[in-house]
């Protein structure tokens, strides 16, 4: 006598759900606005955090670690002047064949003392080939006074503004550089300040000075290099997979005593920062999504329970409970999607705008300089982050409607119809 040929009617259900959603325009609008503002806040916060950490990492990679570095293993334990790379030539030859290598700087590095007539400081002296170094680090573009080492002259040295200020030096001042040479004897010479630089990291600035490699090797009475720094062409700040892949290729031409490390191995703190950033972003998102879920659950409880009689009528006239469940879930999903899509659209606009203008850090800049953060931040949000947020809103919208939906569909039609609300 009876047949169950009830088809699934997505367009009919979707139409009904959408119109039901706007039955109480004020209530739905308030919820959608709350979602939009909440989402923009969360996305900007995540964008700010990601931008700050990515900036810190970009600066650290640009100025300090490069993407890869090669050292003698002994040098990593104790940076002594004799612990040079045994066979730099095969590495340099191999690197010259690889197109994704933007620059390679072979450095002769000594720990020494820089003395002015007024003061002295311990410092790391980087003996570099000026042109090669300029392709690996942004130092040549960050000379604030004077020029880079390429300018010439006898024994030029480039120091940071901070070191100049500490040692009371000016452009053209003479400084004396002393260090222990290969024979453990003190060696030294006078250098003239050819340029002052400023990096985003005040700690880096205090600790590094640059001279020409040939000047330093002549003083040390040693040839060779201690460090090969390798910079790759543009890559994702937070991803070290390309660096790792290149490290594997290089290891085949390395002498057993030499070792290649990627930037996360050189500064494990950077990997920790990335992990911590992911965690803090997840926590922010989770708090927002939980609050959103409770908000939607509240709206859906009201929207569903005030229509109990109507659902009873739907059951009476033959709507199966599966479809009633579908209708309620669809209403909640449409509410979540409306808020999420509007919120994410506005977020993309805000992030794009701030990505152009940047956020000036003002008085915070000095403090953050110690962590290598630039004075202007550019928030960034990955597409995956937007998609994850959207997916979480969808899931939480459905979860939020489950309880009210269950309360309705477990009723008999006659009981539901007996309810005034």
């Amino acid at each position: 006598m009876t047949k169950d040929n009830s088809g699934w009617h997505p367009p009919m259900l979707a139409l009904l759900a959408w119109r039901n959603l706007w039955r109480n325009r004020l209530r739905t609008s308030i919820m959608v606005c709350a979602m939009v503002f909440g989402l923009v806040g969360v996305v900007v916060m995540i964008g700010f955090m990601t931008g700050m950490y990515a900036n810190m990492i970009d600066n650290a990679v640009a100025w300090q670690t490069s993407h890869l570095q090669v050292h003698n293993k002994d040098y990593l334990l104790d940076p002594a002047i004799n612990s040079r790379i045994r066979a730099p030539e095969p590495v340099l030859a191999k690197l010259s064949e690889i197109p994704e290598v933007q620059g390679v700087s072979a450095r002769f590095v000594v720990q020494g003392m820089l003395a002015s007539p007024r003061a002295s400081r311990g410092i790391r002296i980087n003996g570099v080939d000026p042109a090669a170094e300029a392709r690996v680090t942004p130092i040549a573009d960050n000379i604030t006074q004077g020029g880079w080492l390429e300018a010439g002259g006898r024994h030029p040295i480039v120091i940071s503004e901070k070191t100049a200020s500490r040692l009371k030096l000016r452009l053209g001042s003479k400084v004396v550089l002393t260090f222990s040479n290969a024979d453990k004897a003190v060696s030294g010479a006078a250098f003239r300040v050819a340029g002052l630089y400023r990096s985003p990291s005040s700690t880096f600035d205090e600790a590094n000075a640059y001279v020409r490699r040939a000047d330093l090797t002549a003083l040390a009475g040693l040839d060779g290099v201690h460090e090969i720094a390798i910079r790759l062409t543009k890559s994702d700040s937070l991803d070290n997979s390309r660096a790792k892949a290149l490290a594997r290729r290089l290891s085949s031409v390395l002498a057993p005593q030499d070792r290649v490390r990627d930037w996360q191995e050189i500064q494990p703190m950077l990997a920790t920062i990335i992990a911590q950033m992911d965690t803090s972003n997840a926590v922010i998102l989770l708090i927002f999504i939980s609050a959103l879920g409770l908000g939607i659950a509240n709206i859906m409880l009201m929207a569903v329970f005030e229509r109990t009689r109507e659902f009873g009528v739907l059951m009476a006239i033959g709507m199966v409970k599966r479809k009633i469940l579908g209708l309620i879930l669809l209403e909640s999903l449409l509410l979540g999607l409306t808020g999420a899509l509007l919120g994410l659209l506005l977020s993309v606009m805000v992030i794009t705008l701030l990505g152009e203008t940047g956020i000036p850090l003002g008085s915070m800049a000095d403090g953050l300089g110690a962590f290598g953060v630039s004075t202007t931040l550019y928030p960034q949000v990955a597409l995956a982050q937007y998609l994850l947020t959207l997916a979480m809103v969808v899931v939480v919208s459905l979860l939020a409607a489950l309880y009210p939906a269950r309360q309705i569909i477990k009723q008999r039609p006659v009981d539901a119809m007996a309810q005034k609300h």
Binding site: K3, L16, R23, I317, G318
Partner: protein, 227 residues
Amino acid sequence: MTIAIQALTKIYNPESDFPVAAVKSLDLTIAQGEFVAIMGPSGSGKTTLLNMIGGIDSPTSGAVLIDGEDITRLSEQALIAFRRDHVGFIFQDYSLLPVLTALENVEFVMQLQGHSEAECRERAMALLTQVGLTDQKDKIPAKLSGGQQQRVAVARALAPRPRFVMADEPTANLDAKSTAELLDIMQSLNEQEGTTFIFSTHDPRVIARAKRVIVFEDGRLVEDRRQ
């Protein structure tokens, strides 16, 4: 189609100290094409009886046989399908879906049945023409008068081509003119399509038009007359 009610009993709160017997061991037969009014005072059990015949409430004991099949033994799913395909419901408060237009409300149950869009549209338009609301088809219920809403409800009840239509006090909220119009429509549908109509009512205007009047009191049938 024949509705045969056998020893039908409904007791609310049977386990409590104060059980209420709404319908007491009722036997009744309603044949195809009847136009039946069930009358009686409030609380006499009219609505409970209609709900059990329509399969939206279950009896404490007894049987409701529709063409020999006892609907009180159907599974929940089968009962929902039974109501959808074989019973038309008209409620006192119209109970149209407020977000759908008159036309969409009439199409709704047919869509639940799985009919094509064109079929739904064609039959819904034909029914709206029969109840005289073609020009109001795109209005939502809130934009229609009570009488118009109840006429849409009649069209909706008939849309799935039910075996019978249950109407619980359909004219309770209508004025005299609307009541007369509604009764004309229902009577002509009863005569033209042979659809069985079963009403519960207090309304003497409805009782006057019924072909059979069943008087119900305190859960029992006290009079069954044909007129």
